[in-house]
Amino acid sequence: MSNLRLAQVPPGSQDLLADDVRLRRTVQRAWFGLAEESGYREVIPPTFEYEEVFTLAGTQLANELIRFVDRDGRLVALRADFTSAIARMASTRLRDAELPLRLSYAGKVYRQRPEGGGHARETFQLGAELIGSAGPEADVETLRLAIGLLRALQVRDFQINLGDIRFVQPLLTGLNEAEAESLRSAIDRKDRAALADGARRYGAPAAVARALVELPELIGRGDVLLRARSLASGPEAEAAIERLRAIDALLTEEERAHVVYDLGEIRGLGYYTGMQFEVFVAGLGRAVAFGGRYDGLLARFGADRPAVGFALETDALAAVLGEVL
């Protein structure tokens, strides 16, 4: 008689059998081929780190850490995010490396997810970090890596939603934490009524109120940048639009066909400071990749330098390939 406890794996974990592995390795091989060709060198951060490395990414990730107590009583978390770990690495051991620094990775991340939602707690990601370059060329280089990987894998039906967090941030200044949080949640849910209501209740100036209510609609092709510019409140928001226009100018016609500007999206990780993006593939209910600029993160670990990067959900992409191949 089999032992039922021994026969199970915990919810959210799984065995990967030959076909599952083959698809993931196909994605990873294509990735490392492209990354190496583009001058990115692979690093492997540890499987567990002191939890503070990851809590900088914001409360959402902090709430999803899988933690345990180390021998000395310090809290340790399983790797929940490569970018945080690589930012630590680049600020410490790679501190004196020549800039820009191009690093790539592929491996598992571990996150606590609610039971019964069909969420894995252990997933494969891959991605790249470009450290030491502040210009729009670096942003485009990152976007190109994501596009290049999808192309290499013959995924054609994809869309990149590109925004810049500096457009939204000024709209929330001057509010207390609870007010800002309630507006952030309304922005995140594209709830226009709640935005109008919040703007009124918190006494937002007319220009800010107008921009808040328009946020859910500030999504589309290049003309959205013009509309957004007329709503921009202050130098931060204008810098955001300027950066997106600079990126747009650097993209090829073919790349641009995949890009949608999306100024009302604030999904990104807590450390993003500028342009940020999500990649969607037809047939998947969630973003398959996400990325952005995190110019403040390395300074938290002791070396102040700009950086930009992206991460891709290897399992989700493998699932798409499984249907194509």
């Binding site: 039906d157 849910r189 594209k190 969607f280």
Partner: protein, 217 residues
């Protein structure tokens, strides 16, 4: 990006009837041949939508996963499940209130002798947040139906449940002692679908918003 109709998850029951009325007003009633049928998916006559009738608590799950592009569900259900979906529009109908109810002679918010209150509910997460915000400690008992019987049978001191007219409560000798939250039906949308089929979603939101405005004017 895709030619198939938008798939809309609807909560079986009265809210579904009201939702279908609303979709009818924007020109998308259920196709005649699908009416009164037992089909799992009901196409709209104009080919714009496919309606997917499911249990109300399951609507956000279908939408979050992307199996349905959008859905209609009560705010109470959304707040309980906390699924990660867009909530672009308050549809106005399906109004009700989540409330704490207790037998008419019961003590609230403190029980005599400092007894820890037991509270029976289907809405465990919403109740947990509500009592935590009030700084009250209670023991929550998750049950799945006939919540109003729990105090009568001695399972719980109070209940947290949806109140529409208050009749069911009155029939069981219960009264509302405190409101937890108000709820109405919401349009919810899958995040990825909203990005990939933006024009269709924007048109849906604008059409429904227009129909609601017209009927309330």
């Amino acid at each position: 990006m895709s030619g198939r109709p938008l798939r809309i998850a609807l909560p079986k029951g009265r809210m579904m009837d009201e939702a279908l009325l609303l979709f009818g007003r924007v020109g998308s009633e259920i196709a005649a041949e699908a009416r009164d049928s037992r089909r799992l998916i009901l196409p709209s006559a104009d080919g714009r939508f496919e309606f997917l009738p499911v249990k109300s608590g399951d609507v956000p799950i279908y939408v979050e996963s992307g199996v349905a592009d959008a859905g209609v569900v009560g705010l109470d259900v959304l707040e309980e499940g906390q699924q990660d979906v867009l909530r672009p529009l308050d549809l106005g109908f399906g109004g009700c209130m989540l409330a704490v109810a207790a037998p008419a002679d019961a003590a609230y918010p403190l029980l005599p002798g400092g007894t820890m209150p037991r509270v029976a509910t289907k809405y465990v997460e919403s109740a947990r947040r509500f009592f935590a915000q009030k700084g009250m400690q209670v023991e929550l008992i998750r049950i799945s139906g006939s919540v109003e019987l729990a105090p009568l049978l001695g399972l719980a001191h109070w209940i947290v449940d949806l109140v529409q007219t208050g009749r069911t409560l009155a029939e069981n000798g219960l009264v509302v002692v405190e409101k937890v939250s108000d709820s109405t039906a919401r349009l919810i949308v899958n995040r990825a679908s909203h990005k990939l089929r933006l024009d269709e979603h924007q048109r849906l939101i604008a059409d429904l918003a227009g129909a609601i405005e017209k009927s309330s004017a």
